[in-house]
Amino acid sequence: MSKIPRVKVREQDPKVRAANFEEVSFGYNSEEAILEASRCLNCKKPLCVQGCPVNINIPAFIAEVAKGEFAEAAKIISEDSSLPAVCGRVCPQETQCEGKCILGVKFEPVAIGKLERFVADWSADNGIQFSEKAAPNSHKVAIVGSGPSGLACASDLAKWGYDVTIFEALHRPGGVLEYGIPEFRLPKDKVVAREIENLKNLGVKIETNVVIGRTLSVDQLFEKEGFEALFIGSGAGLPKFMGIPGENLNGVVSANEFLTRNNLMKAFRSDYDTPIYVGKKVAVVGGGNVAMDAARTALRLGADVTIVYRRTEKELPARVEEVHHAREEGVKFEMLTNPIEVVSNGEGWVKGLTCIKMELGEPDSSGRRRPVPVEGSDFFIEADVVIMSLGTSPNPLISSTTPGLDIDKRGCIIADESGVTSREAIFAGGDIVTGAATVILAMGAGRKAAKAIDEYIKSK
């Protein structure tokens, strides 16, 4: 079986897609999916399942795909994942399920992510739904934030009969799936809106434009709105900046701002009002998935784009596939480079970055070799837009307005593995607990918290 090479997924030509916001990958068709599925060895002790943060029964669903039983495959996935069309697209499979695939030792691993995506899209296209749910138990649970952790938590609780309401601060649900990840990686109408529709079909209520900590406090949710338990999945928060001179010049934006303008507010479409300033030469500072998204978005809006990263390609935190796609599309990389000043054009706007070359020293706490500046290596990179993509720090809105909710030094809510916080009836998970991480880890946290909430309410 393993002699069959991994089935390549068809993609938009890099030159063509560099000028549009259509999805990069076309995904497998039925024949391709069946062929790829036939490569799975169906291991007795499947390591891929261990590599999956939500422990999807991967060999079982792949076996159904191999037989052409796609609806069965979808059913198996749905037992453990509420967002397969999303995860099939944005999970870092190479370090999770596929990273553990035994085929990967000698050959290439099974394309588990692409198969998951195929099954999710196929069942959505064919109107297949898994909305079996227990009889309503009339217990009210509130979820704060409609990102991956909140959606996953809501989905499980709704299936178990809970009366679930999600409160979302923005005007559209989805959290980072909506404002952060661009259309070309995760189509909004085709994928995100559909997943949210599924959730509504389970009876989950979503109330947008409610900022918990401002519109309603956590305590009001209990006292005035009658919720018995609460899950906080409010996400990553405030963008970080470098703290170097010139960062507040016009033309310097956070990746969050750039992406929110483009994704949530649809600035890339001429029929929407929100302005976006793209410039001619864009420097993106950072090396994560968000940096790749910002760079590829700026490229599609017509700019010449360079990613500035202080370590080497090997240490880039972004997914390999995203780096590869960015490079194919024409994004340039300045590795081992760190900005030390944003330079003004004298009229309040950025004209470029003064950078310093770095070399790798001893490993730091993250295990990666620490970048060290090379004395006297200053050089100038021209840019009329600089996008800072350095991560985020937790939003203080909820923690500062909720007495008794403990936070750590960084400002993240302290919660254990199952989402239990320092306050009774309040659970938390996702980026607000861990700091910025991935969609699938947030989803996993949401599901664990759902279980803990179920146990908590039953024990009362």
Partner: protein, 282 residues
């Protein structure tokens, strides 16, 4: 949801609207703002909350036609709805945390410029209802652009009007009036200035010599308004602060106004409008 229950043209440029937004009305306090999206394809526009009635679920907003989006808001008719309204956002004014004892007899000076009169009104009203003594200076280009004169007179101790052309009140700038009042021997424990950024800058420069604590409310650019995008960042006391979650009110003497003024212009060249003539600072 978000229906416009009443609409009044305060002058050719400025429109007042009562909007049904019960959750915002129930939570609003002086000093806070909200975000309106006029229609499905509209921008998120931050506006100060001018009044609120939690019983009726109504908030009052005042909008000045400046660009495409503010025109969209002003052009909505009574009975129509906004696509979205979210709020209240930002911290309430610090004085709401004072005890009734502390508020009683405390002397405030408010300096309002143009549209800034709208957010000043709920603050003055609140303080008036809590027994503080409040003087208000309203500055406008001309009598035609004055708003909230009568409403303000009803809730403050002394109202002083200045206009650039002398068509109402004293001819001159709000800063002239500040100096005049202090020269006359008026004493204040605290002051608040709200208006165009350039006005707040000059009020701050003018007041510095008098040793009166001064608060300004910064009308920065924003996208989400909930602490996610960083478009609203300002330098206060040498530190980068986010006006949406840490403001909008800051200690005036710590604000880097020149940077804030520059940052307000960031999208001027790419805003999707062609006929924008700014009447705020002529």
């Amino acid at each position: 949801m978000y229906e416009i229950l009443d609409k009044r043209e305060l002058n050719p440029l400025i429109t007042l609207m009562d909007v049904y937004a019960p959750r915002v009305a129930a939570a609003a306090e002086p000093g806070q703002f909200l975000i309106v999206i006029p229609d499905e394809k509209g921008e998120r526009i931050p506006l100060t909350i001018c009044d609120y009635d939690s019983q009726k679920g109504v908030i009052t907003i005042v909008t000045q036609k400046v660009g495409l989006s503010s025109k969209k808001i002003c052009n909505k008719s009574k009975g129509e709805s906004f696509d979205q309204v979210v709020g209240p956002l930002g911290h309430p004014s610090d004085f709401i945390h004072l005890s009734d004892e502390e508020l009683k007899g405390k002397r405030f000076l408010f300096v309002a410029g143009g549209l800034g009169t709208a957010p000043v009104y709920p603050q003055v009203k609140w303080l008036h209802n809590h027994g503080s003594r409040v003087d208000v200076i309203i500055g406008a280009k001309s009598s035609e652009l004055l708003i909230f004169e009568e409403e303000m007179r009803a809730v403050c101790d002394n109202l002083y009007i200045t206009t650039d052309d002398g068509s109402a009140g004293a001819k001159g700038l709000v800063t002239d009036m500040v100096h005049k009042l202090i020269a006359e021997g008026k004493e204040y424990d605290s002051a608040v200035a709200i208006g165009p950024m350039i006005m707040m800058k000059f009020v701050t420069l003018a007041m510095k010599q008098y040793n009166i604590p001064l608060i300004v409310s910064l009308n920065t650019l924003m996208v989400d308004g909930t602490g996610m995008c960083g478009a609203c960042r300002v330098t206060v006391g040498g530190k980068v602060r986010f006006a949406c979650v840490e403001g909008p009110e800051f200690d005036a003497y710590q604000v880097d106004f020149d940077e804030a003024l520059n940052r307000q212009r960031m999208y001027a060249s790419v805003e999707r409008e062609s006929d924008h003539k700014c009447n705020l600072r002529g």
